[in-house]
Subunit: 463 residues, 4 copies
Amino acid sequence: MSGIAGIIDSRGVAYPLYYALHALQHRGQEAAGISTFDGQAFFMHKGPGQLSEVFCEEILGRLAGNVGVGQVLYTQKAHRGRIENIQPLNFTFKNHKLSVTVSAALINREMLRSEYEGKGHIFSTTTNAELIAAMIAHELISGVSAEEAFVNTMLRLSGAYAGVAILDGILYAFRDPLGTKPLCFGKTGFGHVVVSESVALDILSAVFEADVCPGELLTITQDGVTHRQVLESDHKAYCVFEYVYIARPDSVIDGVLVYDARRKIGACLAKNPPKADLVSPVPDSGIAFATGYASESGIPYIEGLLKNRYVGRAFIMPAQNLRENAVRMKMNPVRRHVTGKSVILVDDSIVRGTTSLRIVDMVKDFGADEVHLRIGSPPIVAPCYFGVDLPTRDELIAAGLDLESIREKIHATSLKYVSTEDLVASIGIPAEDLCMACSGGTFPLDIKNECSCCCRHISPAGQ
Amino acid sequence: MSGIAGIIDSRGVAYPLYYALHALQHRGQEAAGISTFDGQAFFMHKGPGQLSEVFCEEILGRLAGNVGVGQVLYTQKAHRGRIENIQPLNFTFKNHKLSVTVSAALINREMLRSEYEGKGHIFSTTTNAELIAAMIAHELISGVSAEEAFVNTMLRLSGAYAGVAILDGILYAFRDPLGTKPLCFGKTGFGHVVVSESVALDILSAVFEADVCPGELLTITQDGVTHRQVLESDHKAYCVFEYVYIARPDSVIDGVLVYDARRKIGACLAKNPPKADLVSPVPDSGIAFATGYASESGIPYIEGLLKNRYVGRAFIMPAQNLRENAVRMKMNPVRRHVTGKSVILVDDSIVRGTTSLRIVDMVKDFGADEVHLRIGSPPIVAPCYFGVDLPTRDELIAAGLDLESIREKIHATSLKYVSTEDLVASIGIPAEDLCMACSGGTFPLDIKNECSCCCRHISPAGQ
Amino acid sequence: MSGIAGIIDSRGVAYPLYYALHALQHRGQEAAGISTFDGQAFFMHKGPGQLSEVFCEEILGRLAGNVGVGQVLYTQKAHRGRIENIQPLNFTFKNHKLSVTVSAALINREMLRSEYEGKGHIFSTTTNAELIAAMIAHELISGVSAEEAFVNTMLRLSGAYAGVAILDGILYAFRDPLGTKPLCFGKTGFGHVVVSESVALDILSAVFEADVCPGELLTITQDGVTHRQVLESDHKAYCVFEYVYIARPDSVIDGVLVYDARRKIGACLAKNPPKADLVSPVPDSGIAFATGYASESGIPYIEGLLKNRYVGRAFIMPAQNLRENAVRMKMNPVRRHVTGKSVILVDDSIVRGTTSLRIVDMVKDFGADEVHLRIGSPPIVAPCYFGVDLPTRDELIAAGLDLESIREKIHATSLKYVSTEDLVASIGIPAEDLCMACSGGTFPLDIKNECSCCCRHISPAGQ
Amino acid sequence: MSGIAGIIDSRGVAYPLYYALHALQHRGQEAAGISTFDGQAFFMHKGPGQLSEVFCEEILGRLAGNVGVGQVLYTQKAHRGRIENIQPLNFTFKNHKLSVTVSAALINREMLRSEYEGKGHIFSTTTNAELIAAMIAHELISGVSAEEAFVNTMLRLSGAYAGVAILDGILYAFRDPLGTKPLCFGKTGFGHVVVSESVALDILSAVFEADVCPGELLTITQDGVTHRQVLESDHKAYCVFEYVYIARPDSVIDGVLVYDARRKIGACLAKNPPKADLVSPVPDSGIAFATGYASESGIPYIEGLLKNRYVGRAFIMPAQNLRENAVRMKMNPVRRHVTGKSVILVDDSIVRGTTSLRIVDMVKDFGADEVHLRIGSPPIVAPCYFGVDLPTRDELIAAGLDLESIREKIHATSLKYVSTEDLVASIGIPAEDLCMACSGGTFPLDIKNECSCCCRHISPAGQ
């Protein structure tokens, strides 16, 4: 996952980058970084934690310059704690100054790393950003122009990626030919903005211009945006999980308002509803789905579970008898809404099944007669090779079980997942342009059979 | 406001108090404290900030004992920064050990303080808790029993209050005769719990037993709860603002589920609705109201504004052109839901009007044709003498303006407040038992005319 | 111990108090507090930790007013963690505003507490400061003048104390009739300063005026200092431990420069010195003594042990084989200075003997042939009833052992303590005016036999 | 400056590295880092600040492995805030794993960086460590052995350096042929230790074995240390400033105990002493010199200035009249030692002269009749090209002034610097093997004339 932003603004970019990344915080909370360029030198600050832990006003004040890039980082377990991996990464070589930040999962990563090690680069991080930077640098050193350096690099990358970079004061943005990772851009009165999701344009009052096309390279200066279609693909592989899980509901991704896709999915789930007293979302993930379900079914939308607005740490009491409080600190059933009632709970997904089980149990503890669970995504049966941090097959509850067995395990009165057809229709993008590999679809790139060996080979996506 | 809790638990009380106060965090975020008693000595920890900033596991581990009290504190501006005012307060005198924490606004505060200064107590805080402790102590020293000490103290207090105290290892709870401040109790398998709102029982899996009756004193030991009706009143003055604004929607206060009161108010607001495309809450305060409005009107419930899940600091850019971002960091309009649409926005209240104005403007900036604002409380025209931190008359937008003028000032297409009759009917408590002084009702106690002098006299509610 | 300061300064007192307390930091590192008064209201800040952890520039800026008091606090184990005990303490009663901070150990503490509880004060701390405040308050309420209130209070206190207080904008300072706790005052061009040690005058460029006489009360306004001798005593009980251990060497206490007393003690220790290659202090406590020893003996002053300038935490390695590093992180023997040499080490005192043992062993490990230990105080054989935090008799190495046995236990080649006669002569104050109870002298006040009962009674000195 | 350490220890290296770096903390307080290797992977932690701010026990516990390197970093102004420059730096390439940390100032740095950029490495830091790592990597990739890679790299570096590195689990240490930067090694019962100064061996109870010879490469495994003399030089350039200023007095550097060199310098300064009452060090820098002066002259060693043990921040009072307190917070004259006295003050050096002026003035303010200043180094007249952070010529008080003018400027009664001959004799190393360029000696390497251009070229020493 992770969220990226690149901005050119004649008024300075530190504050706009901070705001844009704030709007993308849901894409990664483990680290954050901003690099700016003032025509002469880079200014950079980054560190572990959420944006508000990493940045303060004094630090923003020091990040001078009218062009900059930044990232909020999600880290896969294997890479956690590697502070050197926090992006952006800055490089200096042969009078060039390059700053790169990408969200990427590359299939030919190991092959490329090996090649560029052979060419003389020694890697100080395990990120794809450093690999891509080394590729761009070698192109430049071999004498091609800046734009060709990016083009030649894109031509050699195989996988899913979205990136922004500053090279000698010019801002570049690039997106993989299948469009798996989202990226869009807009303009303000003072410059241009490239971001992972459109909500980051909203917070800057920037006008949405377009999604970066799959396979496209943008070259952005104060004067405007130049487009170059570097790669073509006869089909796309837009990530379905962005629509049901990752992206913010108020984002528009590749033409689709995420909230509306979810609302339509909710409506699809409402065909032949059980007799019930209320439809309630599991907060906050199920809200958009639940509003669609309620509208379609006519069953009233009433919250049966409420989220605690305050974040607290769930300390475990020595006697352990308060362990269940960890869930209750996050959400609380509304007793009178569920006691003696038939409740339809709507959520976005079931991964391991443990959280669903606890929620169903909790609602029953508060007296619900029936708890019907409705899920806005198909069963997840396979890990993601494109960087979404799903657990291994063994841990996925739907990987080895049929619907009835899952229902039994999570104690639900009834259970229904959205069908693939309804999902596709709700999103409104042709099935062949969507990646649904995690729910049993074909993987959009030709990779070897899933096995411990090749998994290791391609999954350490770096960031 | 502020939230209080008192617990007896044979397994220890530090963790249960932490969890209970977490569920009451919305009642006060400026300071927090817990005091426990192990039969011999008090253990106490308190400090400024939210609960999770004040407490860590190591500190909880040190708070020994099977009886304790705690508070999350809201502080009126005039008292901020006075760390000595953070409660609970512990006292030792004549072999007695007393810990007190109250949420109180007393009309005869100054008279009582003066009296007890005359009796020899020198005050080290400006809290009502110290005043009440001094009163209890003098009763004890004069030779009456512990229970009579509390009774005699309650007989002399005039105002709104809810308190818990530990005296020599026994837990006491008391509530003012008008019932203005909420207080209820329940039991676990291991003891008893008294809290400001029932949600704090839920988080402990405690069974709700009853509200503490207005004017009642509870004496609580491991063995059980003794009730004593100390004061009677022919009418009550339950705070309407608790139902529409202060309390958590999943709390049941004096028999009424707050969520349902709000949902019914929303339904009342939906009589003769304007032609509109969607009903949206102002998140999160308007949600319960909006679900009622949508159900009643048949207009679909679709969020036109979404809340950012992450808390960030709104730094002001030097050039100031991003100041409006402060609101956008908290909530974001969903462009496609509002552009070219007629939107009904539902919120709980309008105080100064500045936030409403910014929200209406923001929704219009995103292209809404019409913004109809519906408010779940009547116009607020007077400050509160019972401790709710409302601004002065001058700052209240509704104090001097008629409906049309307010509507104009906040740029809404149309504006409607709930009527007093609908509000009363929605809560389901007779009007004579509700305090609606802030929306123009009679103040339930006989105080002098509102003026700068007497305001000063009674409003410094202490905590 | 603990250090106190009271300042009147027409330019404001927050900064001067911060600087004065910084110079007194060695008297207490566990908490710090400052209270100022601007003619109308108190401003206060306090917290656990060293001064630089408790205060920052922003906080100092808020402490308005031209009169203030402050304390750096040393806490006896039994009272640690009681944040309510951090001084100064502020009180409001009957139009009076009183702030008190004292360093005190009172023999009639329990009797007085009980009496004032009977008179209506309920105690919220275990400090002597609150007791003294309650006494002053009752005098005032009974109608006597401010000055008489202090006088009457002093007349009733039995023990060792030094205190400063603000009452209704006037600064008061008072010292016990035996002079056990030091207190002196001086003036700047802008006001007056009262402090525990003269070094706190130096840092403010204040001119030393005099020690506060034992039994004296000072009343200080912008206009000047009024003296009143409240109590007389035919003998004094100046604390010997101040001269050899507690006070800073650059302080002048009751007419004696501490450094010179220590240097003379060092010279006394040098009678009949062993044959040795060098005299080295145990840093930093032994330095002044060692310079005197070197001058007198003619043996060169060469550091055989050097202190690490940087404070570090001594983490214990899992395998524990680095435990001894805790001492080595603090000081390091200079190998070439000690290998094959006869070393005279000079220190101020031996309490439990554990540190001395480790140091002697360490110097021997680095190759010293002989380690002669010379100690600037007599053997410590009894705890202190006046607030100096010495361990119990059982833990004092000298309590039950003769000189030879102590020497053996700490592995020294030879051991010599200063004699009582030499100590008295070096300080230059008659023996009858010194308290040497901890080294076997008579306790200056008539207390009952030392026993678990009366110890408990008098030793919880409060602060 | 900066301090480095490399350790092999069969019990783990995190704790030993922490302790060793603690002993070297005086060489750099701006950042700290440790990298360990467990046979498979690196573990690293680093950050800005002193060691105790960067590391805690939990973090040390995570740094697994039996070989590791670490650094405490001093940063020249131009490089401050570049967190990416904090060492050690880790690299992965072609199945090699390399971690490097160096203290270096290279004359051919820019030429080498350019060359290796040409060879394909793109730099992400401005450190010499990355440059050296790139050089080693290219050697390895070109097929030479690990040892030859280090040898070939050393052959190409021109300048002053000391470094430690882990390459594929083996520890390497290397030192420049002139020996400008100190480096020594020792052994424990469990492995080997290489450190900047011998005090870091002492803290680990390691036995000193030898200095790393100038131009030598050590290859260190659990089994032992292999020596290889890579470079020879007919003369050395041991840094004189290490002996008088940088190194800890208890360190033995290239055979010389720093304390003794300073003590002998002090004795040299005492030839024909003025008539004076006492010799006092400027604490702590002048202590060793002053003991030598006192012994030689027979004038008593008495501290006229005492250092405050506690670190405090010198807040500047709004009215500014306490600005001078900044110095007084650090040290305090002992009034009775200096009033009416002739004082000889001994210090290690005068750089800008501002601190000396303030100290002389302060001692005179406290009443000294005469202040004779004696300095343990010759006048500093030129900046250092080998990484010691001296100011520019313009700011050096001795650069343009004769002795009498300097004396006048700092208000001293008399002033004397140690002569170059006495300095050399005191250290005991032939003049031709010492670098005294900063006090007017010849620069040991052939560099171009000092000018703004070449200064820029060679001075950004990296770390």
